[in-house]
């Protein structure tokens, strides 16, 4: 039996809001695309909680009722829900500017009322012009920051902060980054191998900053070329090639329509 999947998403900038009916679903990273962009979902279950587990069902987490839960599509995960819930899908760089898709489940009880108002905000924002929608998307991004900051600190948190600092420098390299972290270069490479390696992460952080800027109303008057002056890419063609790889779209296309045609990242699955 396949759970009915409500595929009438509401799209605001690069955020997508779905209503999921009761059933079993799989949260996945997009397949069949060369895009390296990663996604996270905010799950808003009102009356009954829901269960989140690994694809093989080995680790199971019960998400309590009325507790907003943010989960990254790091590995293929199953979600079992008893009653309809709202799901907000967004690229992970919206969360902390971080290119890593960490195995993350974050909850914030104190933000419950504000986060549960997100579907209503998006429904009203859909009537605004594109500039207004982009402001609304940035507002939602700010509302989600506390969830990310609430996460307990981990080893990778330090690596992220060092990479986020390094990405602004044109001459950033693995040696100086490893030194800043107090580890050897080979250890750094080994730690970052699951995420695609040091340079992939560094470029992803740079590209995400640019992608975010392209969607900000403050930069609407500037051309892609002008914005590139402020980026540490040595050559424009290198930037355009990497951007297309990550977002499956050119920078100008991303600016006009930030949602590339990607396969659904929430798939119904047989019970």
């Amino acid at each position: 039996m396949i759970a009915p999947f409500t595929h009438t998403p509401l799209r605001i900038a690069d955020l997508v809001l779905y209503r999921l009916e009761a059933g079993n679903y799989r949260l996945t990273a997009p397949e069949g695309s060369r895009s390296t962009l990663r996604y996270a979902s905010l799950l808003l279950a009102e009356s009954a909680g829901c269960r989140l587990s690994n694809d093989d069902g080995s680790v199971s987490t019960w998400l309590p009722t009325n507790t907003p839960c943010l989960t990254a599509h790091h590995v293929s995960q199953r979600i079992a829900i008893a009653e309809p819930i709202w799901v907000l899908r967004l690229p992970t760089f919206r969360l902390s500017g971080c290119p890593l898709s960490l195995p993350m489940i974050a909850m914030a009880q104190e933000m419950q009322v504000l986060l549960f108002s997100i579907p209503a905000i998006l429904a009203d924002a859909a009537h605004l012009p594109p500039v207004g929608q982009r402001h609304a998307a940035l507002a939602i991004e700010s509302l989600l920051h506390p969830l990310v900051h609430n996460r307990p600190s981990s080893d990778s948190a330090e690596i992220i902060s060092v990479i986020m600092r390094a990405e602004r420098k044109t001459d950033a390299d693995a040696v100086s980054t490893a030194k800043a972290l107090g580890m050897s270069r080979s250890r750094l490479y080994e730690t970052l191998r699951p995420y695609g390696g040091f340079h992939t992460l560094l470029n992803a952080a740079r590209l995400d900053r640019m992608a975010r800027r392209l969607l900000m109303p403050e930069y609407a008057e500037h051309s892609v070329k002008e914005l590139l002056h402020d980026m540490p890419f040595e050559r424009a063609d290198q930037f355009h090639r990497l951007f297309k790889q990550r977002y499956a779209n050119t920078a100008s296309q991303w600016r006009s329509d930030p949602l590339p045609t990607l396969p659904a990242t929430i798939d119904p699955m047989p019970l």
Partner: protein, 337 residues
């Protein structure tokens, strides 16, 4: 940016006090923002239940019928660079600011700039939610913007403010910057479309730009119609039309120069009384006497009196201003409820 702080609450009710005391306390409470005036024989009193959260000040207010005015004399004391989002819950209001004269119904949302003049008249008892946020981060030119109750923009902001009011007691200190940022973005999102037609936007932007130019060259003796026409490539008529509501550009320059002179007199930093003749010369007045007459017309007091009164002004920084406003509320005597 101020240090992040946990939400703090202050309540002040003046409607339980004997009418004269209650009215005096109400006037003192509103003094940094507006001056209340009686409409009928009913005293001007009310209740305020306010929360300060970081750089935001959110309050629910109830008041008797009254007119609240923010005018030139009040602005000269140093206004708060903040916007106030006023959501009408109960009561009918009339808003006037020289360019607009509109009625506000329950559900309507008004954005007012606390550095601009306006008059709000309420003929009935009213209940409102007021949310003050620093202007920095929202943008200029939103003063007098009214979001009508059926619009998506008004719904969006009202719902969010409701959710904020509901959750504010439990919100931790470290989230206040993110929440303020979200709120400022939502205001920008809603204000973007609602501003009237683009022509008026351009006119307003041009007027603001000219005002900034005037402020930068205030003490330049050559500043006047001719300089501005040449600098902005406008005809005298076009320039006059831009400032018609305020009596023409010459009047704007004269008023700003008087405000500057007032500022010099109010500055009680132990330097002694400024030389009035020098002030007159700097402000482009023919004589000390001409300045004194113009000053008295504008401020309804002599320059001598201003200097002696050494008017205290509110801090210029928006965040400190809101904190100051909140502590001002806390210093007023309370009424047991």
């Amino acid at each position: 940016m101020t240090m992040t702080k946990a939400p703090a609450r202050q309540k002040l009710y003046t409607d339980h006090l004997p009418s004269r005391e209650g009215e005096a306390l109400w006037h003192e409470l509103l003094a940094p923002i507006t001056t209340p005036q009686r409409l009928h024989r009913t005293p001007t009193v009310g209740r305020v239940d306010a929360w300060l959260y970081g750089d935001m000040l959110i309050s629910e207010a109830r008041a008797t019928p009254q007119r609240t005015i923010r005018n030139r004399q009040q602005l000269a004391a140093g206004p708060l660079p903040a916007y106030n989002l006023l959501i009408v819950l109960d009561g009918q209001m009339r808003y006037e600011d020289g360019q607009r004269d509109c009625a506000l119904q329950p559900g309507d949302l008004l954005i007012e700039d606390l550095t601009e003049k306006r008059t709000i008249t309420t003929q009935t008892h009213n209940r409102t939610i007021n949310l003050m946020v620093p202007k920095e981060g929202v943008g200029e030119g939103l003063h007098g913007l009214i979001l009508e109750r059926q619009s998506a923009q008004a719904r969006l902001l009202s719902r969010h403010v409701d959710a904020l009011l509901e959750s504010i007691p439990t919100l931790p200190a470290q989230h206040c910057d993110d929440i303020l940022n979200a709120l400022q973005r939502l205001i920008a999102a809603c204000a973007g479309e609602c501003g009237s037609e683009s022509h008026r936007h351009v006119q307003r932007a041009l007027r603001d730009d000219i005002e900034r130019y005037i402020e930068r060259h205030l003490l330049d003796s050559r500043l006047g119609n001719a300089t501005l026409c040449r600098h902005y490539r406008l005809s005298r008529t076009q320039l006059y039309r831009l400032f018609r509501q305020e009596g023409g550009v010459t009047e704007v320059i004269r008023r700003k120069r008087l405000d500057w002179a007032h500022d010099q007199l109010c500055r009680g930093d132990g330097r002694g009384k400024p030389d009035v003749e020098a002030l007159a010369l700097l402000c482009g007045f023919a004589s000390e006497r001409a300045l004194a007459t113009a000053y008295q017309e504008q401020y309804a007091m002599t320059m001598e009196d201003t200097w002696h009164a050494n008017a205290t002004s509110l801090p210029a920084d928006g965040s400190q201003g809101l904190t100051g406003l909140f502590s001002h509320l806390g210093q007023l005597p309370r009424t047991p409820t």
